[in-house]
């Protein structure tokens, strides 16, 4: 493993940590513009996280150690996940340790710990949020796995960087199966990141919230970590999408420092477009009732399975 590879690995994790709040801020700003509101500063998420780190933590009297441990585990799982997603280069040393199935597993660690922590205090909202999060998760997780399987059947590997590399090598080959999975992936991304139409990140409207309901008891540094982890999750999902559907512009294999340098503006460009796209979807769609959310995810799962079938039927 070359020094460039380690540099790529290091830069990717740093970029994920640094750019994730910015990406969130960008999505929020785009959404505000599209809805004819004044856009908040792009740097608002950074301010929020910084502010929270400087506060005294308040923890419920009956919180168990699990409650205090969970933000660290959730954050750690998200950072580790960022390390296997080829956002800038595919020659990641960490890729042998964790393939795409492990990546899905790491996202599951974060979900399970967040849900357990939400149940720890024993408030109505916390448990409600945990239940709904797991409900979203149990349909979104297999859908994501199916999406990855379609790509890995095409590229004959389950390592995400290699999938990306092999898909990129096939120039602009069109895969009908990937079209289905792209739809499924967009739906999974929206559901898993608590975006409209499944959840609304902008409100604390009690009866419909999912993600925010789980965080109600958190404050200060624990909340900061949870918020940062949520931003990282959105960033990670966006980069999984890039790796599968727009695998160009990253440094392939051991391509050297120049390719790596090119990949940084490429990533920023892709993020900018993706943020705009996300904001557009959120602006034109309405929030679903919670009862309808399972149908949304089941549709995503069906699309992913359909993608798999299409691949097996057409061989493409």
């Amino acid at each position: 493993v070359s020094a460039t590879a380690w540099l790529t690995q290091f830069l990717e994790v740093i970029a994920a940590l640094a750019l994730a709040p910015l990406f969130l801020g960008w999505v929020n700003a785009c959404r505000a513009r599209l809805q004819s509101r004044h856009a908040p500063s792009l740097l608002l998420p950074y301010h929020g996280i910084r502010k929270l780190f400087h506060k005294d933590a308040v923890i419920a009297t009956n919180a168990s150690p699990l409650f205090r441990l969970a933000p660290y585990v959730v954050f750690g799982a998200m950072v580790a996940a960022a390390a296997v997603i080829p956002s800038m280069g595919t020659g990641l040393p960490f890729r042998t340790a964790a393939d795409a199935i492990v990546l899905v597993g790491m996202l599951a660690i974060a979900r399970v710990f967040m849900s357990l922590a939400a149940m720890d205090i024993g408030t109505a909202f916390g448990t409600l949020g945990a239940r709904r999060e797991m409900m979203v998760g149990f349909l979104a997780e297999p859908a994501l796995l199916m999406i990855i399987f379609v790509a890995s059947l095409i590229s004959a590997t389950t390592a995400l960087p290699l999938i990306s590399e092999r898909l990129a090598a096939q120039a602009l080959a069109l895969y009908p199966s990937l079209a289905f999975t792209a739809v499924a992936f967009t739906m999974v991304l929206l559901a898993e990141n608590a975006r409209i139409p499944v959840d609304n990140p902008a409100t604390h409207l009690e009866l419909t919230m999912i993600h925010e309901a789980m965080l109600l008891e958190y404050s200060a540094r624990h909340l900061a970590l949870m918020e940062w982890a949520a931003a990282l999750k959105l960033f990670n999902y966006a980069c999984i999408g890039f790796a599968l559907f727009v695998p160009w512009g990253v440094s392939i294999g051991d391509a050297g420092v120049v390719a790596l340098a090119v990949s940084i503006p490429a990533l920023v460009l892709k993020l900018a477009v993706a943020g705009l796209w996300l904001a557009l979807i959120e602006t034109v769609s309405a929030k679903l009732r919670v009862f309808r959310a399972p149908e949304f995810m089941a549709t995503a799962f069906m699309f992913a399975v359909l993608g798999l079938l299409v691949h097996l039927l057409l061989g493409a």
Binding site: A57, G105, V112, A124, R131, G137, R221, L309
Partner: protein, 667 residues
């Protein structure tokens, strides 16, 4: 031959040791201290030694002994080969943890006397061991039936309770229906030679039709023991009825003897399975996995929940077996070995995880006297050891890396990813969809486990009495730690485990996944396919990130932590009843998988003075299949009841007529 140079003799001696330990319980049957502090730890020691003896030298040559016991001219044969070794290691290592826990668990005044219980328990262990060693149909069936009977008595140890008696009856019934099918299968397998040793069966030439019949009968018989849909009905009744260590053994170990049986008959005795046989266990397995996990999600009794979760895991195991048969039948032996490794690995994992969880419920049951999830909650504060150790099992069975449940899931998904290469049209397109089902079942298992752990151990105590719950004591703690450490080690050292299991796959399908060419920390079973996983590195990275974050937060920001009551939204004081219940947690599943359930609901009206909500989730299969079947048997029995005259002359007449008919037929 001394037991020291013959591992098989050593294994037999250890099994006999279990029987002796059990019999010693009869010396002082009512003495809890003697049985608990002496006999059960001895049993645990025997289990650990058995695991070591069987686990040392997977590559040792196959060994066989003809025992001097049995019927005249029908001696018992035993044999130790890699497949038996794998399951003996499972039996020994998992039962060691369970026995340690059991030494602190059984108390006076709970049904059967402790000494008698000890006898049944150790006979149960010894008979399971003998099932794994048996090398002829006679020895196998004797051991199999001893296993069924001893576990029946263990299930009904609190026989004063009518529900437990009827659960025991159902279990016994299903066990025997299954045993008949296994017996018939052996009857076909001997292939007209009338020799019932397994060697004769290996040598017998069967026509494809008879071989298929033998396979399907074995699948039915062993499936009934494993709890495959629609033969699963006894599991959710018998497991909650049994004392927790017994549930742990039944779920963790006994179900695996059925897996062993299927593997032994299919790959060893039948030899060359037809590829399409695999579709039967594959389809049934997928249906069972989904069915089990969906039902687990709506349970409100913690042990029933775990029993349904076992149904799910049995489904996953059968899926893997089916896949292995399809691959092997298509001549893709390396892939068959990968699927088989997934099966064996998952069997081992499930033995540890499920035993751990059942023992966790045992600890909760002892501390609170409650099995109903609606009356538990917040126990992690009162029972930190039980809580945190159960959490290990919960995370493992939810399939989270880097624990053990994930490894076998990973292996199974990897082998499913290759199923499109099977050279059969249509089938190669449908098989990969199995991956979707497995992924869905695995994700639902996460849902189930969050519900299980969250409702029991987290939140506020739902009953005032829970504030007096006590944590597990020394030996119980040791048992839980043993199993939890097993879960962690099986998760962190997959290459070593697969290296050991590959001897069994070589025996069964003549191939093994590649583990020798990789460093110890890396699992990459298919060299031509870049699919690898390293739990140690993953764990190290996560620990490094978590540690670094913790240190930065701690030393850079240095903010204090204050405790305050939870936010109550400005209304009234928070009440434990405001938490989500187990029913509530199952609501989305009842909503989404509505068609699975036969549901009875009683909803309160808005004006009810004393509102009452009741929901009963029933099993459609029970109503659609078993109740009509039971009615049919009852009617048949009723219509024959006139024969029961109660007069000796009538019975002598029956015998006379039978003899005359037989003579007429024979002549």
């Amino acid at each position: 031959m001394s037991p020291l140079d013959s591992p098989l003799a050593a294994c037999l001696a250890l099994l006999a040791g279990w029987a002796v330990v059990g019999a010693a319980g009869l010396l002082r049957p009512a003495n809890v201290v003697f049985v608990g502090r002496v006999l059960f730890p001895l049993g645990a020691l025997i289990g650990a030694v058995l695991a070591v003896v069987a686990g040392m030298g997977f590559d040792a040559p196959v060994e066989r002994i003809t025992l001097m016991i049995g019927l005249p001219d029908l001696p018992m044969h035993v044999r130790l080969d890699p497949l038996s070794r794998v399951f003996l290691v499972l039996l020994g290592s998992a039962s060691a943890g369970v026995s340690l826990f059991a030494s602190g668990y059984f108390r006076k005044g709970e049904g059967t006397a402790p000494g008698v219980m000890g006898l049944q328990y150790h006979l149960f262990l010894a008979s399971m061991g003998f099932v794994l060693l048996a090398d002829d149909a006679y020895a196998f069936m004797v051991a199999w039936e001893t296993m069924a009977l001893s576990s029946y008595f263990l299930v009904t140890s609190q026989h004063g309770i009518p529900e437990i008696r009827s659960a025991g009856f159902l279990y016994l019934l299903m066990a025997h229906v299954g045993a008949i099918a296994i017996l018939l299968s052996f009857g076909i397998l001997q292939g007209g030679t009338w020799h019932f040793t397994f060697d004769a069966m290996r040598a017998a030439e069967l026509s494809p039709a008879w071989a298929s019949a033998a396979f399907l009968l074995a699948l039915f018989g062993f499936g009934a023991k494993a709890g495959i849909v629609p033969l699963h009905v006894w599991l959710p009744e018998a497991h909650p009825a049994a004392p927790s260590p017994v549930s742990a053994l039944m779920s963790g170990v006994m179900l695996k003897t059925a897996i062993y049986g299927v593997l032994r008959v299919t790959f060893d005795l039948l030899g060359d399975p037809e590829w399409w046989w695999g579709l039967v266990p594959l389809t049934l397995g997928l249906a069972t996995a989904l069915f089990g996990v969906v039902f687990a999600a709506v349970q409100t009794d913690m042990k029933r929940l775990l029993a349904y979760s076992s149904v799910e895991n049995v489904g996953v195991l059968f899926t893997g077996i089916g896949l292995a048969i399809v691959f092997h039948g298509a001549g893709m032996d390396v892939l068959a070995s990968l699927a088989l490794v997934a099966v064996l690995y998952h069997a081992l994992n499930h033995a540890f995880m499920k035993s751990l969880l059942f023992l966790g419920t045992g600890a909760v049951l002892h501390a609170t006297g409650e099995r109903n999830l609606g009356r538990l909650g917040g126990l992690i504060h009162r029972m930190p050891w039980a809580g945190w150790l159960t959490l290990v099992g919960v995370l493992a069975i939810a399939g989270l890396p880097p624990l053990n449940g994930f490894v076998s899931e990973w292996l199974l998904l990897q082998s499913l990813l290759f199923s499109h290469e099977v050279p059969h049209p249509f089938v190669n397109m449908l098989l990969p969809l199995g991956a979707a089902m497995v992924a869905l079942a695995a994700a639902l298992a996460g849902y189930v486990m969050v519900k299980f752990f969250g409702v029991i151990f987290l939140g506020q105590p739902r009953e005032a009495t829970l504030r007096h719950a006590h944590d597990v004591d020394g030996l119980e703690k040791a048992g839980l730690v043993w199993l939890a450490v097993g879960c962690v080690l099986l998760g962190l050292l997959p290459t070593q485990v697969i290296g050991a299991l590959s001897h069994a796959t070589t025996q069964l399908v003549g191939a093994a996944p590649d583990t020798a060419s990789n460093p110890w920390w890396l699992l990459a079973p298919l060299p031509d396919r870049a699919a690898s996983y390293s739990p140690t590195i993953l764990l190290a990275v996560i620990i490094a990130v978590v540690g670094a974050t913790f240190l930065v937060v701690r030393f850079v920001y240095r903010r204090p932590v204050r405790r305050a009551p939870a936010w109550d939204c400005g209304f009234a004081r928070l009440d434990p009843r405001m938490q989500d219940t187990a029913e509530g947690f199952g609501q989305p599943i009842r909503h989404i998988f509505n068609g699975f359930f036969a549901m009875e609901r009683e909803l309160p009206l808005p004006l009810d003075a004393a509102p009452r909500y009741r929901v009963v989730v029933g099993d459609r299969i029970w109503r659609a299949l078993y109740l009509p079947l039971g009615g049919l048997v009852q009617r048949a029995a009723d219509s024959l009841a006139w024969m029961q005259q109660g007069r000796i002359s009538a019975y002598l007449t029956y015998s006379f007529i039978t003899l005359v008919v037989l003579l007429a037929v024979m002549l």
